[in-house]
Amino acid sequence: MNGEEHLISMLVNNKPGVLSRVAGVFGRLGYNIESLCVAATTDPEISKITLVSKSNSDSTERTKKQLEKLVDVVEVTELGQIQSVQRELILIGIKLQQEHRAEIARAVDIFGCKIISMKSDYYILEVVDNKEKIETVLNYFAPLGIEEIARTGVIALQKDK
């Protein structure tokens, strides 16, 4: 799917079926959801969905309208790069080869990663940052042999409210 990434933040009722209705809107329009985070807010009846999808701006408008139509969607906001802070958490599992030990230690230091598990020859690193930084870290570690990754997808907050 062509187009830019759009970051959409939604408040929805914390009820069964809501997520599939939301996801259904994207499926219906043929847009892939690049990442999706959902959890309850301070109000247990309301959940926040943060979603990244690729489309052109016109169709994002249309998508937003379709989302707003859903009875359980309370609010839809599109968050731009400038007006929001964005974070993603990623876990990287790396098979340790002795010759890389020093390099990994240095990278952990530079990138501010955390080593959260270290078995004899297997590390798990944790990185929390924006998407760009996470891509940089991933690119750096790729040649060192990443075994597995898990990422949460982006969460975001508007800078001023």
Partner: protein, 578 residues
């Protein structure tokens, strides 16, 4: 107790001792329906809805047994469109529920307030691929305003009330309530638990802001030299016809409608230029094109109305009023917008609109009217259109016409002049063949003191032909006019115009004797040629009960003018050779 439990399992209800104070889910549903004003249900039973059908025997609500669940939904839809009330249809789980899908989608596209009740397997079987289990909520998600699964008998009343509220509030639409059988048979005290969710949204414009927007739109309207109003189906739904009519008369503003908006305002008051779009009136389309200000009320600017959106009304500033915020600017970018109940908005706008004569604008429109008549745009519905007018002439003024889909729909909506806002019923958004006969059943039941005539093509007629059985069983005096051209006429026209007359998959043939078919269903019927219909019309008029009039039409009778796909609203073609 043990016996009670066994009986309850079998769907029986015990009304003794301590059960007395309690009601079953089925009883709560029927009581709530009654409280919400439901008088009729269009339905079809199955094992999973029997708890309701059983209790219906004691309810004042009348159940009409249709012959197909699709027809039940269309009938509830037709009932709602004819009366302005919420239509209710009921099917069992699985195949019954899936059969209703087309009817629900049809109601969704035209914003009909509808409650679709579907039976469901017991909650402990959900997800087990049980006999007749279907995820109807999943299937209908994109075609309902909302849907509910009744999980617990304690939630039945509040959920149903909320369903009604949703169906008729804001932009109306269908709401589905899926009812597991054990919830229907379980019992509880009425009103025991409320279903609290935050379903109201925070998109309301403040009254002050609203007034500012209304003032602004009125200013533009007053200033405009070539203003026009587009009336969509939302005007009827918002019960704003009288108010809008007043505004039009005061400002002397010509108006066009969308197909769904036809009839909103008395058609013969001189300001009405017809309906816009692919099959619309030439005058309406050209006037929109030349206007400098458009006030669009209760329309979403469907692609059928605008044709090529790039070229739609290139000179106009556009203002849009709609109750549904998601309809504003969805298809066409607008310059001014107002999210509001239409009746409120127009009422507030009337005193702000200046009395103006607009002689130049009307002169120009009248000239265009003459030109388009010369080009033959009025004859576009040919003898079929004439026949429809003849029928209207002999029927009482308040007769409701129900159109199907195809050439016959265009003939009907262009030839029938509705005298009341609900005098013409047609499915605009979905274009569902087979709509007219079941919708006419619903309409007739809704407005029993009025005549109802369904117009259909042979193709659409075959799609719900089984409903003739419903009509004759209940002896519903519905009149049905079938234009028999032996073809899927509109498909034939498209193939003729745009596929080099390579006809394929459009011939239905002439082997069916429709008059005999109707009589076989117990309905009196007659056949006429479209060119010589008087005797048939008279017989139909004189028949007290239902009547089917088969009208033989030449398959080359098409509809003109029309806008070919992708072209703008002023690029209409008038004949085969254009």
């Amino acid at each position: 107790m043990q016996k009670a439990a066994i009986l309850e399992k079998c769907g029986f209800f015990i009304k003794i001792g301590r059960y007395k104070m309690e009601k079953t889910g089925a009883e709560i549903i029927l009581q709530t329906l009654k409280e919400e004003g439901t008088e009729v249900i269009f339905g079809y039973p199955g094992a999973n809805t029997l708890p309701i059908h059983d209790r219906l025997m004691e309810s004042p609500i009348k159940h009409y047994l249709m012959r197909h669940e699709q027809a039940a939904a269309h009938a509830a839809d037709g009932y709602a469109r004819a009366t302005g009330k919420v239509g209710v249809c009921l099917s069992t789980s699985g195949p019954g529920a899936t059969n209703m899908v087309t009817g629900i989608a049809t109601a969704y596209m035209d914003s009909t307030p509808l409650i679709a009740l579907t039976g469901q397997v017991t909650t402990n079987l959900l997800g087990s691929d049980a006999f007749q289990e279907t995820d109807i909520i999943g299937i209908t998600m994109p075609i309902t305003k909302h849907s509910f699964l009744l999980n617990d008998v304690e939630e039945v009343e509040s959920t149903l009330k909320e369903a009604f509220e949703l169906a008729r509030s804001g932009r109306p639409g269908p709401v589905l309530v899926d009812m597991p059988r054990d919830v229907l048979t379980a019992s509880c005290k009425l009103d025991s638990k409320s279903n609290n969710g935050q379903r109201s949204k925070k998109q309301h414009t403040s009254p002050k802001e609203k007034l500012e927007q209304i003032k602004q739109i009125a200013t533009y309207l007053n200033r405009a030299e070539r203003p026009i109003i587009i009336i969509g189906g939302g005007v009827k739904l918002g019960k704003a016809c009288t108010q809008l009519s007043e505004l039009i008369k005061k400002g002397r503003i010509p108006f066009v409608t969308t197909m769904m908006g036809i009839g909103s305002i008395d058609s013969s008051n001189g300001f009405n230029l017809g309906f816009i779009g692919t099959h619309g009136n030439e005058l309406a389309n050209s006037t929109i094109h030349h206007s400098d200000f458009i006030l669009a009320v209760g329309t979403r600017f469907s692609d059928r109305s605008t044709s090529n959106i790039e070229e739609f009304a290139p000179l106009a500033t556009i203002a849009q009023i709609d109750i549904d915020p998601t309809s504003i600017g969805k298809n066409i970018k607008v310059d001014l917008q107002l999210i509001s109940d239409i009746r409120e908005a127009i009422t507030e706008m009337i005193p702000l609109v200046e009395k103006k004569e607009r002689p130049e604008w009307f002169q120009r429109i009248n000239k265009e009217r003459e030109l388009s008549e010369k080009r033959g745009s009025r004859e576009g519905c040919g003898p079929a259109g004439k026949l429809i007018s003849m029928i209207q002439d002999v029927m009482p003024e308040k007769t409701t016409a129900v159109a199907d889909v195809g050439l016959n729909q265009i003939w009907t909506v262009r030839s029938w002049q509705p005298k009341t806002p609900r005098g013409l019923i047609t499915c605009g958004g979905m274009g569902t063949m087979g709509f007219s006969v079941p919708a006419a059943i619903g309409a007739k039941i809704g407005v029993q003191n009025q005549e109802v005539v369904a117009f259909s093509g042979d193709g659409g007629f075959y799609m719900n032909i089984q409903e003739l059985a419903t009509i004759s069983y209940y002896n519903l005096p519905v009149k049905i006019v079938v234009f028999n051209n032996g073809n899927l006429g509109m498909i034939r026209q498209l193939q003729d115009l745009f596929y080099g007359a390579r006809f394929n998959a459009c011939e239905l043939g002439n082997k069916v004797d429709m008059v005999m078919v109707a009589k076989g269903f117990g309905i009196d019927a007659g056949r006429v040629s479209v060119n010589d219909p008087e005797s048939g019309i008279e017989k139909m008029r004189k028949t007290d009960g239902p009547y089917l009039l088969e009208v033989m039409v030449d398959p080359d009778t098409y509809v003109f003018p029309l806008i070919p796909p992708g072209l703008s609203n002023i690029e209409m073609i008038y004949r085969r050779s254009d």
